[in-house]
């Protein structure tokens, strides 16, 4: 089991990047204290913990200075709690492949969702939705390669890319409904669609990914304060 509350996670429930870290903490059965942040009025703790970006999530482990950035936190946790449910594979090439796709998701795929939200007008939104669909097809190919016939990117059980992509499923479902289009569908991304249903009910994720109502509220706040 975990090592007591020597781990603090500063975050907000609707943030998929925060959810990422929560999923990994769950997979590794690590106890932690969740310090909920109000992003409209950031605490002294957050501003001093992450002066460069002033963002969540931030992990504080025992007396160490804070660690921001979800992917960096995950690699840190994976190294110090390496004996329970390894997240990344151990080989250098397998790690490189995983890190490449996590980088693609974070720098190319997920930013499209924010762009979609901020783009006014039907035509503009249509163009972004087309890019999201193209991205999902790349991810389908990646899934087929990584899973190699098994249920997850990580193989038999949830691994790095399952977490990196899986944490966004609350938002992908929301965006699909809100914009009336399918990101993952039977015709274009059959394997990934199966995967989304499978991982949605995984123990480590299901109590972490917020309900649609929470996401809707957060979405309305974003539209108001960051149009």
């Amino acid at each position: 089991m975990g090592k007591g509350s020597e781990i603090k996670l500063i975050g907000t429930p609707p943030s998929p990047y925060v959810n990422r870290v929560q999923i990994v903490l769950n997979l590794k059965s690590i106890d932690y204290e969740f310090v909920e942040e109000n992003l409209a009025c950031k605490s002294e703790l957050l501003l001093t913990s992450n002066p460069v970006y002033k963002k969540v999530p931030v992990l504080i482990h025992a007396n160490n200075p804070p660690i921001p950035e979800s992917l960096i936190i995950i690699e840190y946790l994976d190294e110090i709690y390496s004996d329970v449910h390894p997240i990344l594979p151990s080989g250098p090439l397998a790690r490189a492949d995983n890190r490449f796709w996590a980088n693609y998701m974070d720098t190319k795929f997920f930013p499209l969702f924010e762009e979609l939200r901020k783009t006014p007008g039907k035509e503009g939104k249509k163009a972004i939705m087309k890019q999201i669909i193209e991205g999902s097809q790349l991810l389908e190919e990646a899934f087929v390669k990584f899973s190699d016939g098994k249920p997850y990117f990580g193989g038999d059980d949830v691994g790095y890319l399952d977490v990196v992509l899986g944490c966004f499923l609350g938002w992908t479902k929301f965006v699909e409904k809100h914009n009336e289009f399918k990101i993952f569908d039977e015709a274009r991304t059959p394997k990934l669609l199966e995967w989304t249903n499978r991982i949605w009910s995984h123990e480590a994720l299901k109590d972490v990914i917020p309900e649609s109502e929470t996401l809707m509220n957060f979405y309305m706040i974003l539209m108001k304060y960051r149009p």
Binding site: V52, I72, E75, P89, G91, P92
Partner: protein, 231 residues
Amino acid sequence: MNPATEELIPVHQKMEDEVKLHSFRGSPYGCRVEIALKLKGISYQFIQEDLNNKSQHLLKYNPVYKKVPVFVHNGNPISESLVIIEYIDQLWKGVPVLPQDAYKKAQARFWAKFIDEKCIPAVFKVFGSHGDEQDVAEANEQLQFLENELSVKGNKFFGGNNIGLVDICASYIAFWAGAAEEALGIELVTKDKFPKLKEWCDNYINCQVVKDGLPPRERLVAYYKWRFGKA
């Protein structure tokens, strides 16, 4: 690649290893990889790419981005400079690029990410706008974080007594930025504003492994004069 056959403990380069780097001379990102390879004493074949006429190999090896650098080890391609460097560091023995301690490693990765996401784009924007005041202010704000980091740690390099991941990542600041400043007659990383950072730049580009990997400065200055329209 079969996961069961991957090396889990750092090894020496093998005679039969085929190590190639697809890049172009003058690429700051390709140069990062070259510095890491030189640090580890790894022999490699440099394959010059013409970005206006990309090779079939490049398009096959990096279908997602179609960009350089692409590192190919025994036929296995890896893209993205930081991903490549982590691969090199994990696989091969020799001078470590990342710290061994998990926490220090996290810190190094954080600064590398910051340099890529915030610092370099802000500095580049200054050159693109020929020194627009607001762009300069934004770049100064980002550079100040690096200045503070050097100040607080009090080391010669971001990596400590020796260069590491963060130093390599900041190669653009150490060399390319200076060439662009000269080409455009702009002063950005100055001794007055950033004394520690300027000192770091001078120390960094004088390291042998770095010197060996840098492109000729005059050619870079000429390129920037053309690129930013002040030939």
